[in-house]
C-alpha cells in the first residue's frame, strides 16, 4: 500500500488510536463509515488524479487500505497515469 493511501485514510479512522494503518486492517473496524466513502473518493482524486469507476465502489474495494490501493493502482494503469 502506498504511504499516501494510509495518510489519506487516517483522518477518517477514529478508532486507529494513534497506531499505523496496516494494509490488511479492516477500515470498517478502524471506524470508516460507508457514508464517508464519497469523501475518501474525493481525496483519492485529489492525491492520485484518478477517479475509481462505478463498478469498483463496493464493500470489497473499501474493505482494507490494501484493497483500496489495489483498485486505485489498477485505475492508474488503465489511465496511464504514473503513480
Amino acid at each position: 500500500m502506498d504511504p499516501r493511501m494510509a495518510e489519506l485514510l487516517t483522518p477518517y479512522l477514529k478508532f486507529l488510536n494513534g497506531r499505523e494503518l496496516g494494509p490488511d486492517d479492516s477500515l470498517r473496524e478502524r471506524g470508516l463509515d460507508s457514508m464517508q466513502s464519497i469523501n475518501v473518493l474525493f481525496e483519492i482524486e485529489d492525491v492520485f488524479g484518478v477517479s475509481l469507476p462505478d463498478e469498483d465502489i463496493t464493500d470489497a474495494t473499501f474493505a482494507t487500505g490494501g484493497t483500496l490501493w489495489t483498485a486505485v493502482q489498477a485505475q492508474l494503469e488503465r489511465e496511464g497515469v504514473s503513480s
Partner: protein
C-alpha cells in the same frame, strides 16, 4: 413448495385474520389467532429448505405471501415479513450448533422470531449500536433497551443487535440470538398508536446471559447481514405488505362501487380518473418490487451503489405511493364509504396503517443515504 400450494396455505391464514382484524385493530392487540395459523400451516418456516423440514419457499414466495396477508391485515403482514427476514438471516449466517438448534424449531412453526434492532438515541440507524455485549465467564451478557419491538410479547426468540464485545468502534455490531427463556423481559411502555395497532410494537428491556455460540455470523460483522439479507428482505418485504394493503383497499372499493351501481354514477369522470390513478400507483410499486427481486436474486455483490439505490427506491416509492393510492380512494368514494370507521371498504384502517410506511425506517433517513450513494454513482447506470 412441497406441501399444499402457497396460495392455499396463505388462504387459511387470511381466513382467520379476516375474523379478527376489526377487534385486533380496535383493541391494539396482537393477532394471536392468525399467528397460530401461520405456525400450523408451516408458513413460519416458509424459507426453510425442504431438506431441513421447511416449505422450501423462495424470496418470491415470501413477497407473495406478504402481499396476500397485507390485503387483509397490514399488521399481520409486517409481522410475517419481518419474521421471514430474521429467518433468512439465520439461514444465511448462523452456523454449527446455533443453526442446528434453531432451524428445526423454525421449520416446525415453534419459533416466531422477534427483531431487536432499534435503540434509543440512534433512531432506525441499523449499523451502529450503543449497548455493548460483554463477556463474563465465557457467556455473553445482554442488557438492552429497545423502543420498538414488533410482537415482542409473543416472540419465542429474538435476534438482537449489540455492539460487539471487545469492540472499539460503534459500527462493530453483532447479531445475537436469545430464546425467550434466556432473557428477562420487562415491558417499558404501552402501545397505543394511530395505525399498525395489531403489531403490538411496544418498548421493552431485555436482560440475560447467552452461551457464546449464539452469535449469528461473525462478531462485529452485522454489516454483512444487513447488506446481504436484512436490507433487501426488509425493503422488498415491507413494500409487498404495503402493496397488499393498498390492493385490498382498492379491491374493496371496486366491490362497493360495483355493488351500488344504479346509485353510483359509474361514468363519473372524476371517479374513473381516481380509480385509474390508484391502480397506476399500485402497478408501479408492483413492477418495482418484481424488478428489484430479480436483481437481488441474480446479483452477486449487493453492495454496489446502483443496487443499494434500487432496493432503497422500492421502500421509499412503495411507502409513498401505496399511501397516496388509498388517500385518493377516500376522495373517490367520499365520506360515507371512504371515511367512516365501520365502512366495509376499511379505507380508514388502511390509511392509518399505511401512514406508518414512510416512518418505518424513515424515508427521510433513507434519502440521506441515497443522496450519498447517488454521489458515488457518477455514471448513473441502473441495476
Amino acid at each position: 413448495m412441497t406441501t399444499a400450494p402457497l396460495a392455499e396455505l396463505v388462504g387459511r391464514v387470511t381466513k382467520v385474520a379476516e375474523e379478527h382484524v376489526r377487534r385486533t385493530d380496535d383493541e391494539a392487540t396482537f393477532p394471536v389467532e392468525a399467528l397460530d395459523e401461520l405456525r400450523a400451516t408451516g408458513l413460519l418456516g416458509l424459507l426453510v429448505p425442504a431438506e431441513d423440514g421447511g416449505l422450501g419457499g423462495s424470496l418470491a414466495d415470501v413477497l407473495e405471501a406478504s402481499t396476500e396477508l397485507g390485503r387483509v391485515d397490514m399488521s399481520l403482514a409486517m409481522i410475517f415479513a419481518m419474521h421471514c427476514q430474521q429467518v433468512a438471516a439465520v439461514l444465511a449466517h448462523a452456523e454449527g450448533k446455533l443453526r442446528a438448534e434453531l432451524v428445526p424449531e423454525i421449520a416446525a412453526g415453534r419459533l416466531y422470531l422477534g427483531s431487536v434492532t432499534t435503540e434509543a438515541g440512534k433512531g432506525g440507524h441499523l449499523l451502529t449500536a450503543e449497548s455493548a455485549a460483554a463477556w463474563q465467564n465465557g457467556e455473553l451478557l445482554v442488557d438492552r433497551f429497545a423502543p420498538i419491538v414488533t410482537g415482542g410479547k409473543q416472540a419465542d426468540g429474538f435476534l438482537i443487535t449489540m455492539r460487539s464485545p471487545d469492540s472499539e468502534a460503534d459500527n462493530q455490531v453483532s447479531l445475537v440470538y436469545a430464546s425467550r427463556e434466556q432473557v428477562e423481559i420487562e415491558p417499558a411502555g404501552g402501545w397505543n398508536p394511530l395505525g399498525m395497532r395489531a403489531s403490538d410494537s411496544g418498548a421493552m428491556k431485555l436482560r440475560g446471559r447467552l452461551p457464546a455460540h449464539q452469535v449469528v455470523g461473525r462478531h462485529g460483522d452485522f454489516h454483512t447481514i444487513v447488506t446481504t439479507v436484512f436490507g433487501p428482505l426488509a425493503h422488498l418485504g415491507w413494500a409487498s405488505c404495503w402493496l397488499g394493503t393498498a390492493a385490498g383497499a382498492l379491491s374493496r372499493v371496486i366491490a362497493s362501487v360495483r355493488g351500488s351501481r344504479g346509485k353510483t354514477d359509474l361514468n363519473s369522470e372524476l371517479l374513473l380518473t381516481r380509480l385509474s390513478r390508484s391502480r397506476q400507483r399500485l402497478d408501479t410499486v408492483h413492477a418495482l418490487i418484481g424488478h428489484a427481486r430479480q436483481v437481488v436474486e441474480t446479483t452477486a455483490d449487493l453492495s454496489v451503489p446502483k443496487v443499494q439505490l434500487l432496493i432503497n427506491a422500492v421502500k421509499i416509492t412503495a411507502a409513498e405511493e401505496c399511501y397516496r393510492a388509498v388517500d385518493e380512494l377516500v376522495d373517490a368514494i367520499g365520506m360515507r364509504h371512504g371515511y367512516l370507521r365501520d365502512s366495509p371498504t376499511r379505507l380508514e384502517q388502511s390509511l392509518r396503517d399505511l401512514r406508518s410506511a414512510v416512518l418505518n425506517y424513515s424515508n427521510d433517513r433513507l434519502h440521506l443515504a441515497d443522496g450519498r450513494l447517488t454521489l458515488l454513482d457518477q455514471e448513473v447506470r441502473f441495476a
